[in-house]
């Protein structure tokens, strides 16, 4: 049985802007799935829909169904969804910038017993020694990479079964992106998480997921394993970018634009 199952989901913002036009996707228990696609494809909308945060963005599910471990969560408020073991790391690195690193972790782990919280905090500090060094600093002063690590730590403190991460590589150097992906992969394997990773950086995502969905204009336009995606010339050209034979010198000045829809 699929852990997350999205069927024919349609989402509107402000009652008029159709952001998802019938999206279906699923992720099995313990599976890692990537949602790829350009800006405005509806990836983040899907994340918001799954985590129940659409009302915060004046959005609404028009049609379709989302289930979590068989339970219908389509219209469940965010708090209830979080209670079911799904934690979403939203885009834009939403740490609490005026809280110190320690306070950020405390806020995320507020439901745990003090002892469990301490155990997990210690574990996070062992995984990310840099966070320990900066534990009394306000989150807003951390570097982008450190903030991403802090977010992963916070997510860990919510003890999720399913982790949804929206664009962790945004604004990070290739080296840091690689590091974040490695950490994400480690976490997933150590904790046996189901992972839904939203990325624009397809190359980074391929390294740690089993299956990918490519989205464009509110629809899923490709679905397959990571290998299939990498073997697909169209997907490679449009989402991996620059996979043009002969390198950049022979690449056309204006790239061919192709749409599936």
């Amino acid at each position: 049985m699929a852990e997350i199952n999205v069927e024919n989901l349609k989402v509107v913002y402000r009652g008029v802007i159709l952001a998802l036009q019938g999206v279906s996707m699923r992720a099995g228990a313990g599976e890692a799935v990537a949602l790829l696609g350009p800006n405005g494809a509806g990836k983040s909308t899907l994340v918001r829909a799954i985590s129940g945060l659409l009302p915060q963005y004046d959005g609404r599910v028009l049609d379709g169904r989302i289930t979590l471990g068989g339970e219908d969560i389509t219209h469940l408020p965010a708090l209830k969804v979080a209670g079911l073991g799904l934690t979403a790391i939203l885009e834009g690195r939403p740490i609490f910038r005026y809280l110190t690193v320690i306070e950020n972790l405390r806020a995320a782990g507020h439901k745990l017993t003090p002892q469990r919280q301490k155990e997990l905090t210690d574990e996070i500090f062992t995984r990310f020694p840099r966070l320990y060094e900066r534990r009394f600093e306000q989150g807003g002063y951390l570097s982008g990479g450190e903030q991403q690590m802090l977010l992963l730590g916070m997510a860990l403190l919510t003890e999720p079964r399913i982790l949804v991460v929206d664009e962790p590589s945004l604004g990070l150097s290739p080296k840091l992106t690689e590091e974040v992906m490695r950490v994400l992969d480690d976490l997933r394997r150590d904790k046996g998480l189901t992972l839904v990773l939203v990325e624009q950086n397809a190359r980074a995502a391929f390294s740690i997921v089993e299956r990918v969905y490519v989205m464009e204009q509110g629809r899923v336009v490709f679905e397959g394993t990571a290998q299939e995606a990498q073997a697909d010339a169209d997907v490679m050209e449009f989402y991996l970018g620059g996979a043009v034979a002969g390198g950049f010198s022979e690449a056309k000045r204006y790239r061919r634009r192709k749409r599936w829809v």
Binding site: L79, T87, F96, A108, Y141
Partner: protein
């Protein structure tokens, strides 16, 4: 200059300031957690004072204050549920306008419920003697402190400090600061943001009640009446001086404004009658001109 007089004035100023501090701390708490400027804060004081008065008809005054606090908390939560929650996600200005409407509504409601005349604590009609909390007035080496001042100092000041410490260190304090920054991010982390916000409103009503009850004369000096609304306006200069989004700032600013008022009363009032009422607002003008983020207001974190 008479040293005893200066000390006495300073203590009296601090005592009044402590009341301003608790009220402003609650006011700022609400602003922090919801970005709503609660223009009905003076009415919160009024309601709190009247609740205390009603309780005082049946119980000793100290007990009446204690009993009024949970009622005030419920009142604050109800306001949040009824007025603020339905407007969540709307323009903040809409919510602020709603609090102005709320202020007018509460004004009218208290007039209907309790009448226009000034009450005396614990006295159903004027033939009865007003109740007071046990008198703690003392006179030590020429320094005379009224019972009201002592009560304010031993009740309001620790409460204000407790609020600051709780916000900084307690679990709910951390959650409240988290929610105040981003409700969406808090929800995504499974923080019960609506409950935290309701708590903030409840606490705000509680602190307003304590401030209101004592400003209205729980320790001598009359009882609740509509003049409290004018006294309640002091919250705005205090909050602005403190930085508007800082609870510690509000506490420090409350004490400062209390002191300034007391000394202005002592030295300036004879030269410029009425100056004491104007001074807090002059301070607001200066703060806004020269230090818009007040004493301890948050500096924006910006990374480039």
């Amino acid at each position: 200059m008479d040293l005893a007089l200066v000390i006495q004035t300073a203590l009296n100023g601090l005592a009044n300031g402590a009341l301003y501090a608790v009220i402003a701390a609650g006011f700022v708490l609400v602003y922090r957690s919801t970005s709503v400027v609660n223009f009905a804060i003076a009415e919160f004081m009024l309601i709190g004072a009247y609740l205390t008065y009603t309780m005082s008809l049946f119980f000793p005054l100290l007990l009446a204050i204690l009993l009024a606090l949970p009622l005030a908390f419920i009142f604050g939560v109800l306001v949040e549920r009824g007025f603020v929650r339905p407007l969540l996600g709307r323009n903040v200005v809409a919510v602020i306008m709603a609090t102005i409407g709320l202020a007018a509504t509460l004004d009218g409601a208290t007039l209907i419920l309790w009448g226009p005349d000034q009450k005396a604590m614990g006295a159903a009609d004027i033939s009865q003697l007003p109740k007071e909390v046990p008198s703690l007035a003392f006179n030590l080496g020429g320094v005379f402190l009224s019972s009201k001042a002592v009560w304010s100092l031993i009740l309001a000041l620790p409460l204000a400090i407790l609020l600051v410490l709780a916000l900084k260190y307690s679990r709910y304090g951390v959650l409240l600061r988290a929610v105040s920054e981003s409700e969406t991010a808090a929800l995504a982390m499974g923080i019960n943001a609506p409950r935290v916000v309701a708590m903030a409103w409840g606490i705000s009503a509680v602190t307003a009640t304590i401030g209101g009850a004592f400003l209205a004369g729980a320790a001598g000096g009359g009882g609740p009446g509509h003049h409290l609304i004018l006294l309640g306006l002091i919250v705005f200069p205090v909050a602005i001086l403190g930085g508007f989004d800082s609870v510690p700032g509000a506490v420090v600013a409350g004490l400062i404004i209390g002191l300034i008022e007391a000394f202005s009363q002592l030295y300036l009032e004879s030269l410029l009658p009425g100056i004491t009422q104007a001074i807090p607002f002059l301070i607001v003008l200066l703060v806004l001109l020269f230090r818009p983020y007040g004493l301890l207001g948050q500096h924006r974190i910006e990374r480039v």
